[in-house]
Every structure is written in C-alpha cells, then in structure tokens.
Symmetry: C2
Subunit: 527 residues, 2 copies
C-alpha cells in the first residue's frame, strides 16, 4: 500500500535502521516500514490515528511521577546511587502495599470460598465457614468460578441492602437497587456513560468538585461530556459552598446541559467530611435543577475527627421527606478498597441507585451484561465488609481489634500529618477529617514558577519531581486533581507506617525549606 | 422547574396515583412527578435522554430469553406448574455452573494467596505453596489486596511470556508486551477503544466474523465504530474464506476506513478451528491492507478433533518471516474463563500486543490505569493456567488427571451433540471442532416465520422462546450472533453433564419435530 498523504505525517530525512532485512525509519511522528517491494507500510495505530478521546484522558495518580518513581526503584535495586536508599510511595491509597495487614476474617472467608475443602478444616472459625457456605450457595454450581448474574450474586446484594438499612438507621433499601461492581470506579463510569447524550449546547454537563479524584475528569474526557468545575472552599476546610454550585451551574448552562452532580464524601483528595446541612443543600439544589446525583462514599468508614460523622446522601434525602426521597435520582458508591479493609486488589464494590426509571434500569443491566459480571471473589470480599462478625460470633473479638487498630492508626496519622505539615513555612494543611489523604497548599516562589513554565511543566509537577529525585518521596502534584488558578498543592496519603510517615514528613520539611531558600535568593537558581 | 417541552414526551391523560403525598403520572414515555407546588419534575435519566450509544448495544447471551429463563426458574421454585421440572441453561459458556469441578491445584494456589497462613499448613502441596509464594512476592506488601501495576503483576506477566514461547515452539515473547486483563472482554474493548477515530467516511471500520460473539458488536455500537461483517462459510464447516474478506473490505471502503480485523479461533459460536493456511491468508491480507489484527484465542485449549490443532496467529506471523513479524500490529487474547479450568468468575485474562507504536503503548497503559488494575486473584488464577505443575512436581498427576477428564468429556459431548442434532429432520450441525458451542442451522417453516414477524420478533427468537416455555431449555437465538439473511440457528453450549446433555438433545429433537409438524400442516397453527 502506497503512502496516503492524509494518513499520517512523515519525515523521512532520518537515517534508516537496518533490522531483519527491513529498513525502519523512526521519526517523531510515525514509524514507517520500507517493504522489500519498495512500498511504505505505516503503522495502523499511531498517535495520529489514536482515538482522540483516549488521548484526552489524564490520570495523575499513576502519571509520569509514578513512572519515574518506578524507574528509580529499579535503579536502586540495580545498585544505582541516589541521595536516598528507598522510594516512599505516598501517591495512591493502597493500604496493603504500605504495610497494612488484611482483616483475618475477610481473608478466611475468601479462602474458604476459593477452596471449599477447607470447610472441613478445624482451623477455620464457624462464622467464617457460615459466611462462605452462604456465598457459595449463591454461586452457580456453588463455585466462585461461575459467572454471577450481571448485577452480582443475589445473596450478597441482599446483604448490602441490609447493611445500608442499618447504616442509615432504618431507611429502606431494596436489593433490587443494588449492583455489585468491579471496584467503585466501574460503577461510576457505568452510570456516567448512561448519562451522556446530546450535542453542542445540549451535551451533558457533569459537575465535579475541584479538587477532584481524577477518575471523574478521565471518564468525562473519554465520554466527551462537559466538565463543570465547582470549587471547594479551601479557606473553610474544603467545604462545599452552595453558592459556588449555583455559580458553576449558571455559567455552564450557557454552553451545555448540566445533568449530573458528583460529590465525594469524605473528600478525595481533600479529606473533608460534609456536614448534614451541606448535604441537604446539595440535594435541594439537585432537586430544583433536575440533576442526577452521584455520591462517591467509598471513604464512609474513614472519618477521624471525633466531632464529625458520616452522613449518607441517601439518608439525608430520606429525611428531607417523600417529595425528595421519591424523586431525586441518586447513585451512591462503595468499595472494598478503602475503609479499614483496604482490599484494593479484589476490585470489589457496589452501587445503590434510587428513583431510576424502570426502562433505564433494564438498560443498565444490559450494559453491565456485556462485561458479564464483577469478579466473584471481589463480591465475596464486599459481602464480608457489609456482613462482619456479630458480637456473639467467635471471630468478633479479633475482627473488632483489627478494625479498631487500623482506624485508630489512620486517625493518629491524619493528625500527625496535618500538624507536622503546618509547622513548615510555606505549607498550609487543612485538617484531614476523613479519607486517606492530605492535600496541603504549598507556596512556590515566583522564580520557581517561572522556571517550571520555561520547562513546560506545571510548577507543582516540577516541585514533586524534584522532591522525588532528591528524597525518594513519591507524591502527586495538585494539578492532577485541579486547583484554583495560581495555587499549588500536592496529595499525599497518610498510609505509610507511623514511623515511615514521620521520616517522610521530616524529609519533606527539609526539602521544602531548601526549595524556598533556593528560589527566594537573589542569585540564579543553583541547579 | 417547569416542563421544557423539548426534554421528553408527556401524556398526562393517565390517572395520577397518590403516593407519599405526591401525584405520580406513569406513562409509557416518562414518569412525571407533580410537585406540591404544582410544578412538574421529570426524571433526569429516561429512555429519551439515555446515551444513544448505550441504547444501541445488544448482548444476546444475556438477553430476553435468559431473563425469561430466570423468571421461570423462580416460578418453579415457588411451585408454579410448567411442562418440565428444571430449566437447563445452555446459553452461556459457564462451565462450573453446569457442574464442572474446579482444577484443585488452581484453587489451592488462590486459597494460599488469599490466606497466607495456609502456607504453614501441611495439607497443601509444596508446588502450590511455591507458586503462591512467588505470586505474593510480586504483590505490594505481599498481599492480593494491593493494587497491582496497571499492566498486572510483573512475575505473572513474565510467566505468561514463558508460556507463550513454549506454546509457540520458541517464538520469542517479551513480557513488556503482556497486559493482564479483567477477562478477555476487558482487553478486547480496551484495544478497540484505542482504534476508533475519524468521522463520516473516515470513521474506523472493524471487520468481524458473522456469526460472531456479541461482545464485538456491542463494543462497536458503544464506540460508534463501523461494523464490517465478513461471513463464515457454513457449507465448509464455518471456515473463513479469504475471498469473502476481500469482498467485505472493498464494500466497506466506500463508507468507512477499515482499520481492524477481528478473528475468533477456535470460533464462538461456530466451533471451527482455523487451519494454518487460512491464518496465513488472513495475516497476509491484514499486512496488505494495513489492518490491525485482533485474535481472540480464548478457546486455544478447546480443540476436540484429533486431526486438528490450534495455531496461534502470532506463531504463524513469525513463520511468515520478519517482514510480517516485525510490522503487523497484532493483539491476541486469552482468559481464565474457558479452556479446562473454566474459571469465569475470577475475571482473569491477558493480552499480548505485537508491533505496537511505543507512544501508543504508553497511551494504552494510561487508559488501563484509570481502572487501576485487573482483579489480583484473577491474575493469580491466570498464573496457574500458564504455569501448571510440571511432571516432576507433586501435584502433576492429579492436575493432569483433572485436566484430561475435563477436556475428554468436552470432546465426547462435542461429538454427541453434533451427531444427535444431525439425526433431527430440519437441523444441520457442523462438527464442533473446538470451543464450547454447537451452532446448528434450523429449518423454520415459512408459516412460523410469518407468525414471528407478525409478533415483531425474529423467527429464531420465537423458536427459542417456545423451546424454553415448552421444555425448560434455554438457548440463544442465532440472530444474537448474526447469520446470513433467511437462515436460522441457535447457539447451545456442550457444557451440561453428559447425562443432562442427552436429555436436553432428546427434548430438543421432540420439540423440533413437533414444531415442524405444527407449522407445516395446512390447518391454522394450534396455538
């Protein structure tokens, strides 16, 4: 096939490389193969022909900094010299990778489900066996290896509904509204996918908090929806300000059709826990403006401030009365990955939908069917989280001890992180009320900002890159989550062990002071 | 908010139903809520506002027949009377649900990974422990509960590469090209997603076999790509005919940009095993026409005809010489769900890519990162499949026995199915050379065709619905996979136990004969 000039850009000035009898021209734009018959064969899939929606996706939590951290880690293993001996990854909420131990009961149930011969073993407690038997009863051929129904295993969905009713002090939950998912991300993307339609000014707009967890912006890019930013109030512990919602909505109405509002509570990356009043305001706003509400509640067990508590959007909606509870369309999300279990690798999760049109529900099930089912071992893990040992059961004491230890340590680390960061000049950190992250504001001197711009990168990216190179600490720049123009942040997890966290915070302080000094001085930067 | 006439259709003639103090009007088109203040509140997400790409998706394997089968099953449990006592589901390749036992070794490894305390138990064999230790070494914090890298756990990807090299008799495999996936479906959709671009006549066209596995058509609809059908040759054991590829390609070029060819080998739903020559022809064609090749090889272990063998597209490409091996872009897919293990619920799989542009590869990793990682227990299951016990290891004998038993039984059932179906007048079944399905052609009398049309359904759908209602057998109509105009088929799995399969085939024969008689007679149909 001869070159079609409209199918790629070619610069053939580079010297061809002989390989396997073929001449390869590697250019910045495309790789072209000179065939033996003298014709050119270009690649089918290049940056020029790649789906532009894929190209538009950004996902900072596993972005360039993390790739670089991996490179450095491998380098260290191979004996390369760095000013540190270890990379500390505080970029992602991956509890077990940071040393948190699994909840014994959960793993016992999963092992029993995986290898049911163990049901005869005296070394497993009776309550774990009872959970495993019940889950296996719900599986085709009593095997974790069968596909479940597209919505998930029936009895697990029933357990989820019971859990929600108890959590919400009796607000009714119907297991027909429960969908098990492959982590929360899967559910969030599925619901967003349903909601995107229209062209031009009638294209669906999705309101998301800024800063946000970048799954949202990535999914919005991929679906070519319109992202509508509402800014959280950093000066007020990252609270959601209802006036800011109105502002964002009114401004967006000019160029799209706002149809969805996403809320993350407790906040990621911002760690705030929303007040009941604030949730009521949001729901009232959604009711008035006909918005579909998506509430990401994966950190519902991660509340550390003793004077705050988690309120589910669903419970508040119920308390607002039937006019609200029977009309507002709500999808809320939970996960096995966070909380006290931290079982990210199992990819378990659920979503509960409310007031979804019946035909739309059938469409949702159809959409989920194409991927067949969520991983069944993840479903089993979700079941344990919603159906943990009861006080009279043999595993209760150990379970309770393990759970309290994890949540207690997180609360302590949340406080240590906030307090230490606030001792550093040029860093200001809001209280980490919940979730697993601090998102402090950092002062970056104007000369550093200029240097970053001349390097074609955002200032906080330059900051985090230098931090990584000089200390081995891997954080995510605030620009990956969104921040008000001219402000800079990073996200760090509070997951390292207390000991390691203190080392991290110390190194970070030293680095920041050095960084300020370097760029504040009148001399040229020393680098 | 008042009704906006352009945002939904309303028929308010129905009598409102009082509920929780709100008046609800339930109409065919939309549900409208009459608020206390007298204003209307419509739902945000209705069939009118649903993403049209979602609406366009079809997935027959879990379509209306299967929903109906579930209803009947529940009815039977509640004591409803039917002309049968059991629903036999032969609609989906779900081995364990049909009674196949898990491979012991695989489940031992997964249980050990899930609950590592078992590594101290004397009741687990040493080779299973060694596999589990190795997998856990590859996991963050040595826990299945950590996120893996987006591409999957390194050592499992390495094992996959070794497996492929052995399978392909030394053709080199680079683990950098291996991506672990959430079942094969996930990998297939990810690659397709990358390949879709352009508008109008330059929109990406995707060549798929007809009949096909409906994941392909569903993904194409969702991505708004152009589906290009190439028909398999039913009269020639569903062989892929290279002239038909040329025909389909040339015709499609008029209205889209054909960029991808998908092949399923062994075939689903058609069960054919492609010859080496045929694969070479396809690859030559893809080379000439600059097509990206996607080869779905999830049934690579499921070949039953003793005179046939599985050839991977990659191996054939290698044997065609470096001009091909170093240029054709190929992605091939495998899964834990099929083969002899049938571990569908684990959602494990891998894909291998070849000749992917380096920048595109980075984009692929970015895209996968957004969903964080495939389920790690599914990755562990995949590892066992590519790294089974060796002859000198303690688990070898049992493993070998279990594997042979499963594959032997499938081979026998493949033969029984074909032979029995071919004794029925008006049914013609090609040999089930591989995979897990028969896709026989069924004669549907013209009067039955007419009746179906008058009911607004496809004739094979009516056939399968009646079969279900009268016998309890759940199959999928051929129209869900695509078939030549005017021909009718169904897909049935060969997975029920031999005993149950024979009952199924007998009932099917009786039903078919009765069906023919009913619609062939000169009287009016008796229904």
């Amino acid at each position: 096939m001869a070159i079609q000039p409209n199918r790629g850009k070619f610069k053939l000035s580079e010297r061809p490389v002989e390989q396997y009898g073929l001449k390869r021209f590697s250019t910045a734009e495309a790789t072209v193969i000179l065939r033996e018959d003298g014709k050119m064969r270009e690649k089918t899939l290049t940056m020029d022909t790649l789906n532009p929606q894929v190209k538009a996706v950004e996902y900072a939590v596993r972005g360039p900094i993390v790739t670089k951290a991996g490179d450095i880690e491998r380098g260290l293993q191979q004996g390369q010299k760095h000013p540190f001996t270890e990379v500390i990854k505080a970029n992602i909420g991956d509890s077990h990778a940071m040393g948190q131990k699994p909840i014994t009961f959960l793993r016992q149930v999963v092992a029993l489900c995986s290898f049911p011969e163990l049901l005869n073993s005296p070394s497993f407690p009776e309550d774990a066996k009872q959970r495993a038997r019940r889950i296996l009863q719900g599986c085709g051929g009593q095997s974790l290896g069968s596909y479940s129904a597209s919505q998930g295993v029936d009895c697990i969905r029933q357990d989820v509904a019971v859990y929600i009713e108890q959590r919400d002090k009796g607000v009714p939950a119907d297991w027909d509204n429960i969908y098990l998912t492959t982590g929360a991300s899967d559910g969030i993307v599925s619901i967003l996918k349903m909601l995107v339609s229209g062209q031009g000014r009638s294209r669906s707009g999705v309101m998301i908090p800024i800063p946000q967890y970048p799954l949202y912006s990535a999914a919005i890019s991929e679906l070519e929806a319109v992202q509508i930013n509402y800014y959280l109030d950093e000066d007020n512990c990252w609270a959601l300000d209802i006036n800011e919602l109105h502002r964002a909505y009114q401004a967006a109405k000019e160029h799209c059709h706002p149809r969805v509002i996403c809320i993350i509570n407790p906040g990621n990356p911002t760690g705030q826990v929303q007040s009941r009043k604030c949730i009521e305001d949001v729901l009232h706003f959604a009711y008035e403006e006909n918005l579909f509400v998506m509430s990401d509640e994966v950190y519902q067990d991660n509340v550390y401030s003793p004077d705050l508590q988690f309120h589910s959007f669903k419970k508040v909606l119920y308390e607002m009365g039937p006019e609200y509870f029977n009309t507002v369309e709500l999808a809320s999300f939970h996960s096995t990955s966070k909380g006290y279990s931290g079982e990210c690798g199992f990819r378990g999760g659920y979503m509960e939908v409310l007031n979804l049109d019946l035909e739309v529900k059938a469409q949702l099930v159809k959409l989920l069917s194409v991927r067949l089912c969520p991983p069944v071992s993840g479903q089993a893990a979700m079941d344990v989280i919603v159906n943990p040992p009861l006080p009279h059961e043999p595993s209760y004491l150990q379970f309770h001890k393990e759970k309290s230890a994890v949540l207690g340590a997180l609360a302590e680390k949340a406080q240590v992180t906030e307090q230490t960061l606030n001792t550093v000049p040029g860093i200001k950190c809001n209280p980490v009320q919940g979730a697993m992250y601090a998102f402090p504001r950092i002062f970056i001197p104007p000369r550093a900002v200029e240097e970053a711009k001349s390097l074609g990168m955002s200032p906080d990216m330059m900051y985090c890159l230098r931090l990584l190179e000089e200390t081995g600490i891997c954080l995510v720049p605030g620009s990956g989550f969104g921040q008000r123009e001219g402000t800079y942040h990073f996200r760090m997890t509070i997951l390292p062990t207390t000991e390691k966290l203190k080392v991290l915070l110390e190194k970070l302080r030293d680095f920041h002071i050095k960084f300020l000094k370097e760029y504040a001085s009148l001399e040229e930067p020393k680098r």
